[in-house]
């Protein structure tokens, strides 16, 4: 028994080593986002209000304590060297502690004598979009952030001519790495960060990175597929029929099998042709509607094999479901679509664009 167990474990463990086998921070963030979205839709404020107040209280507490601890310990400034309380008039000379710029409140200004570093620390909360530049080599890995030009007005800066390079503390570095699953050097554009602390830094004759703290990372929303309801035509005996233009195309395609005839058709049109072929048992035409690009492997290399297979007892419940179900054409992206047949059951019929950009039926259409 132990041998069997070991062998099975060994075999399965090997399959489970896939890099996708762990539940990543990115996936967790998706769960959080979906939970947040659902929570917002819940109208029961009586239930939510106490929790919200608790959250605000906790957040305020963390903010106050964090700010106090940060300012008392110099934690936020820790890597910067010797701390001096001497006022740095050169940075934001017209701004006093408590004043605001672009929605950020100035917390303190510092000058570090030995390093000739000037800093101005701000607190606030602002969404900034830009590019994460992640650099990894044998000895180190770090992420910096370069805001887009449009986002510069959301930062506590007064010179928009040059976007600052923003560095993060180690905790936020890890957050960025985990969220985007970074394992090698990469640039990730269009990232939106909610920043809640910002330190402007200046050093004479030297380009120096500003520093910020990330409150959270906003992940880009996934594109919603486009859905369009449609229905099929049936005669008095509940047999599927094609009408008008689609019927003409079917008849022409049946005799010529020329894909170009389908060029202007939508996925739902091609779907109807395929289903109509099923209805009249015209399996040669049906076979010709499958996608024929080289990257697809056909189980049935020839139409004869296909027809033989179709002769064997096969359920006709798909056609029946199509006749009875609510049909929706769903365009997932430019090259992928499916026909949702019974939404509740998740029954779908897949189509893809071929090399010529024509919608054809997937070899394994039912999903």
């Amino acid at each position: 028994m132990d041998n069997v167990k070991k062998e099975i474990q060994g075999a399965i463990n090997h399959e489970m080593k896939d890099s996708k086998s762990t539940f990543s921070e990115f996936e967790k963030q998706k769960v959080r986002n979906r939970i947040n979205t659902r929570e917002k839709s819940i109208k029961n404020t009586r239930y939510l209000l106490p929790k919200a107040l608790t959250g605000v209280a906790v957040a305020s507490f963390i903010f106050i304590v964090g700010g106090f601890v940060g300012s008392q310990t110099g934690l936020f400034d820790a890597p910067l060297g010797e701390h001096s309380n001497t006022q740095a008039d050169e940075l934001f000379p017209n701004l006093m502690v408590g004043d605001q710029i672009n929605g950020w409140t100035l917390v303190e200004k510092n000058r570090f004598k030995e390093s000739k570093l000037l800093t101005a620390s701000f607190r606030g909360s602002s969404a900034v979009t830009g590019t994460i530049k992640y650099t990894k080599n044998q000895s180190s890995a770090y992420a910096t952030f370069i805001p887009d030009q449009d986002s510069l007005a959301n930062l506590p800066i007064d010179d928009y001519s040059l976007a600052p390079i923003i560095a993060f503390n180690s905790k936020d570095q890890q957050l960025v790495e985990k969220t985007f699953g970074l394992a090698a050097s990469a640039d990730i554009e269009g990232v939106t960060l909610i920043l809640n602390q910002y330190i402007v830094k200046h050093k004479e004759n030297e380009v120096i990175q500003d520093e910020a703290a990330i409150e959270r990372i906003l992940l880009p929303k996934e594109d919603e597929p486009i859905q369009k309801p449609f229905s099929i035509q049936k005669d008095s005996e509940n047999r599927m029929v094609l009408q008008g233009h689609l019927n003409s195309i079917y008849n022409e395609f049946k005799s010529t099998k020329t894909d170009d005839l389908l060029a202007e058709l939508s996925p739902s049109d091609v779907f109807q042709l395929w289903m109509y072929a099923e209805e009249i048992k015209d399996y040669r035409t049906q076979y010709a509607l499958f996608i024929d690009d080289k990257q697809y492997v056909k189980t049935f290399e020839t139409v004869e094999e296909y027809i033989d297979a179709k002769k064997e007892p096969n359920s006709s419940s798909l056609l029946q479901s199509v006749k009875e179900g609510q049909l929706n054409e769903v365009i997932v992206n430019d090259g992928t679509s499916y026909i949702s047949i019974e939404e509740e059951l998740g029954l779908g019929f897949g189509l893809s664009k071929d090399e010529k950009g024509i919608w054809k039926v997937n070899w394994s259409p039912i999903q």
Binding site: V4, V31, I35, T299
Partner: protein, 188 residues
């Protein structure tokens, strides 16, 4: 034997579900994803379904009665979601198109295409993944995830005797196929 796990204590004593769900995701994220993969055989689908499991957990947390262990509860949710998926997509696919099933080289499209295209590391793993779900689930829960037969019986809501017989039959199939395919030469 009624001692609570740390997670069960957190669930019982913490009102804020968002904190609880973080703990649940930390503890069960990967193991649930792998469990679901063992059913659907596609990491992307496993990812989506795992997220669904945690959202369900979040929404139904108040219904967790602590009558069974939390592990059994969340496994049951994951197994049900996996089987629902198989019923709605793969099973229907197989039933309706058993004879006209085609596979696409691009493994992004279908759950089975991806696994069939994939080169398995060993013949044994291929045999295990090709087992019918009812045997595969018991084999993986017992040997890979190392649950007791009693736990598996609760997770699958099956009588203990059924779990035992499926485990036996699953092993028997593996042995026969493994001997036949991998060691056939040695045995002439």
């Amino acid at each position: 034997m009624n001692s609570r796990s740390n997670l069960e204590t957190i669930i019982a004593t913490t009102d804020d579900r968002s904190i609880v769900i973080e703990c649940i995701m930390d503890e069960y994220g990967t193991v649930i994803k792998r469990l679901i993969f063992s059913y659907v055989k596609d990491w992307d689908i496993a990812s989506d379904l795992t997220q669904e499991v945690f959202i369900t957990c979040y929404e139904k947390l108040e219904t967790f009665q602590q009558k069974s262990s939390f592990k059994t509860w969340i496994y049951r949710i994951a197994i049900n979601k996996s089987k629902d998926y198989l019923k709605s997509w793969s099973y229907r696919n197989m039933v309706l198109n058993e004879k006209i099933l085609f596979f696409k080289k691009d493994n992004n499209k279908g759950p089975d295409a991806s696994i069939i295209d994939k080169e398995f590391s060993t013949e044994l793993s291929k045999i295990i993944w090709d087992l019918p779900v009812k045997y595969r689930e018991v084999i993986l829960l017992y040997f890979y995830q190392e649950h007791t037969l009693h736990e598996i019986s609760e997770m699958l809501t099956l009588p203990l005797s059924t779990v035992k017989s499926r485990l036996y039959r699953g092993q028997d199939r593996i042995k026969k196929m493994y001997l036949f395919s991998d060691r056939g030469e040695q045995h002439g």
